[in-house]
């Protein structure tokens, strides 16, 4: 049985019934496997930061229900963007344009809602408000999907590197949004959108937008784990030529993934107008930074082939907790950008170090 011993392996005492030919080692315990996941460590860090910021904040306001709800609403848009990005990264493609997609979608959605709802009457009520909001949501998501499809076609069919393609569409999207609004924002969207959805909560606790993001996360998790679509997505990111040779229509698949990422960005755009009652054209420049950080620190591989949806959630929480925590502690909001940038680099650096030591890749 000495053939099983492999130098410095700690689990070298293999049971005797093992076939020496295949040299299998006993599977790891579930707990051990859990802590091999990067996402689990991020969750530990999340808990630590929440405890830390809570303890340091005046009157423990960080732990207050208001703040927790604010965290969740803040996290919603970031999570939606990060989820779409994670799907694309799983297949080995980047998307830097998620922020401008959000902005363009929100502008078109807001204009739709205002256009259909018309001016309010004396009591502040609108005609056709329901239809207006419904169509607004459709326009937001639709714009996002079309935006994504354009990205996907550039990446898959024109074979443009995804970083370059989406960097280009990022400029185009933001520019188009600014042209449409003449450099300003679309304001005074019916306030009912805020009171009924954007700032409303289920059972007075769980904000509706956060619920939407959680549903999206569950659906994607399910998709990756149990469906043909998920297997093919990861195969594509794992080894593109293998996927092609297995007869998978790789280009079409990439476009569909980009469409999903785009649709989620459009949905985030709808959440944006429902939160603020207006668009925030200038407010989403750092969105790609936050989204990429959330995805990458959660254990999704940049090279593709592995996506951790749970990790994306914990990564988003980390980014949002850092942002809000620093503000509550009285730092200027600019510091959060530095903090997130540092987290991104440290996380990827640590991951590389670990991979080198393990010699997996």
């Amino acid at each position: 049985m000495s053939t099983v011993m492999s130098g410095r392996s700690r689990r070298a005492k293999a049971p005797d019934d093992l076939d020496p030919d295949i040299r299998a080692v006993a599977p790891q315990s579930p707990l051990r496997r859990l802590f091999r996941e990067t996402g689990t460590w991020i969750l530990v860090l999340d808990v630590f930061l929440v405890l830390l910021f809570g303890a340091l904040s005046d009157n423990f306001v960080f732990w207050s229900q208001t703040n927790v709800q604010a965290l969740m609403i803040n996290g919603t848009e970031a999570l939606l963007l990060a989820l779409g990005l994670a799907m694309l990264l799983g297949a080995g493609a980047f998307d830097l344009s998620v922020g401008s997609n959000l902005v363009l979608s929100s502008v078109l959605g807001a204009l739709t809602i205002k256009g259909i709802a018309g001016p309010p009457d004396a009591d502040g009520n609108y005609h056709n408000l329901g239809v207006a909001i419904l169509l607004g949501a459709v326009v937001c998501i639709g714009t996002g999907v079309v935006y994504g499809i354009v990205n996907g076609i550039l990446i898959a069919y024109f074979d443009i590197n995804s970083l370059i393609a989406t960097l280009g569409t990022m400029g185009i999207g933001t520019g188009a949004a600014l042209v449409i609004t003449q450099g300003g924002d679309v304001t005074s969207v019916p306030s009912q959108l805020q009171s009924e959805f954007g700032l409303a909560s289920l059972w007075g606790f769980l904000p509706y937008p956060a619920l939407v993001a959680i549903v999206a996360a569950v659906v994607l998790w399910w998709l990756l784990r149990y469906t043909r679509y998920g297997i093919r997505t990861l195969a594509l990111g794992s080894e593109r030529t293998s996927a092609e040779r297995a007869g998978i229509r790789v280009k079409r698949h990439l476009v569909s993934l980009a469409a999903i990422a785009g649709g989620l960005a459009g949905l985030a755009g709808f959440v944006d107008i429902s939160r603020y009652g207006s668009t925030a054209v200038a407010g989403h420049v750092q969105d790609p930074l936050v989204a990429i950080t959330a995805v990458v620190i959660g254990g999704t591989l940049i090279e593709g082939g592995k996506v951790s949806i749970v990790g994306v959630i914990w990564g988003t929480v980390l980014a949002i907790v850092l942002q809000t925590g620093l503000i509550i502690l009285g730092f200027q909001s600019f510091y959060q950008l530095i903090a997130i940038g540092v987290v991104l680099i440290v996380a990827v650096g640590l991951d590389r170090y670990r991979v080198r030591r393990r010699g997996d890749r």
Binding site: D21, V25, R228, A235, S238, E239, A243, G247, I248
Partner: protein, 281 residues
């Protein structure tokens, strides 16, 4: 540990699922599994193939030999639809065919074990075996694209067992397997889906002596099930021993088609390097 040897513990006979996969070959009676005739292909200034011919009959292992640059890989790629030739005809299962993609070849029951194996390292053994052919649940779940992993696992297990391939687990990622295990898996996958012919590009190039022998045994096993096997290889002694017939390419032309029993390694080498042809031409 129970999970660790789920396919190594080969105590029960193969379930019917495996027989169904294998049965496809026995049902369709054909004489010629795959053949390419007078294939020509030019890339820019390079005439890769001028008049390449090969015929693989059902139940037969044919070795395709040739020096580097003789056009073996190009020829193989035309046979599976990856490259469209400029001229020539193909026959699969006695019928003339023209493939425009790998998918077409797969639909005709022609599978290929590529030299780089074409596996996805981050996917499990089962998912790799079924990549592109995933089995779905019945009913609504299936229409949503939900895969039936349990059945896939059973079938993969049966297919691997049938070829006497041992793997530590079907759930591990491919990246955790050894080179020989990956090679065996790639062969098993091709056999599982191919019901007419299995083509192999340098299947023993990355393997040790013992594992090469196993792969050569696999070729015979596959041929005995009524499929045609075409092997491109540099491993002349070993493949010559296992093959029924030999086709030798020389500068894009089929220089020799002969029964393997009539040839020795020096004969093959002489033809491969065009001995006696340079002067004659």
């Amino acid at each position: 540990m129970t999970e660790g040897t789920e396919n190594a513990a080969a105590t029960t006979p193969s379930p019917p699922a495996a027989a169904a996969t294998a049965g496809a070959a026995a049902d369709g009676h054909f004489e010629t599994a795959i053949a390419g005739r007078h294939i020509a292909k030019r890339f820019g200034h390079v005439q890769a193939l001028t008049d390449a011919n090969v015929t693989v009959r059902a139940g037969e292992v044919v070795a395709l030999f040739g020096d580097n640059g003789a056009g073996k890989s190009t020829f193989l790629k035309t046979l599976i639809g990856m490259i469209k030739p400029d001229a020539g005809e193909f026959v699969v299962a006695d019928r003339p065919v023209s493939f425009s993609s790998i998918r077409d070849a797969q639909d005709a029951g022609v599978e290929c074990v590529h030299q780089d194996l074409a596996l996805a390292p981050d996917l499990s053994v089962v998912d790799n075996m079924f990549l592109g052919n995933e089995m779905r649940h019945r009913g609504v779940l299936g229409r949503l694209g939900v895969v039936n992993r349990r059945e896939m696992t059973e079938r993969a297990d049966a297919a691997l067992r049938e070829l006497s391939i041992k793997l530590p687990s079907l759930k591990v990622d491919i990246s955790a397997l050894s080179g020989g295990q990956k090679q065996a898996l790639a062969v098993a996958r091709a056999v599982m889906w191919g019901h007419t012919a299995v083509l192999m590009d340098e299947p023993t190039a990355a393997l040790g002596a013992r594992q090469s022998a196993i792969v050569c045994d696999l070729m015979r096993t596959v041929a005995e099930r009524g499929l045609g096997v075409l092997v491109v290889s540099h491993d002349l002694p070993r493949v010559l021993k296992v093959a029924d017939r030999v086709t030798i390419l020389w500068r894009g032309v089929t220089a020799l088609e002969a029964p393997a029993a009539d040839l020795t390694v020096p004969d093959v080498v002489a033809t491969m390097v065009g001995y006696g042809r340079d002067n004659a031409a």
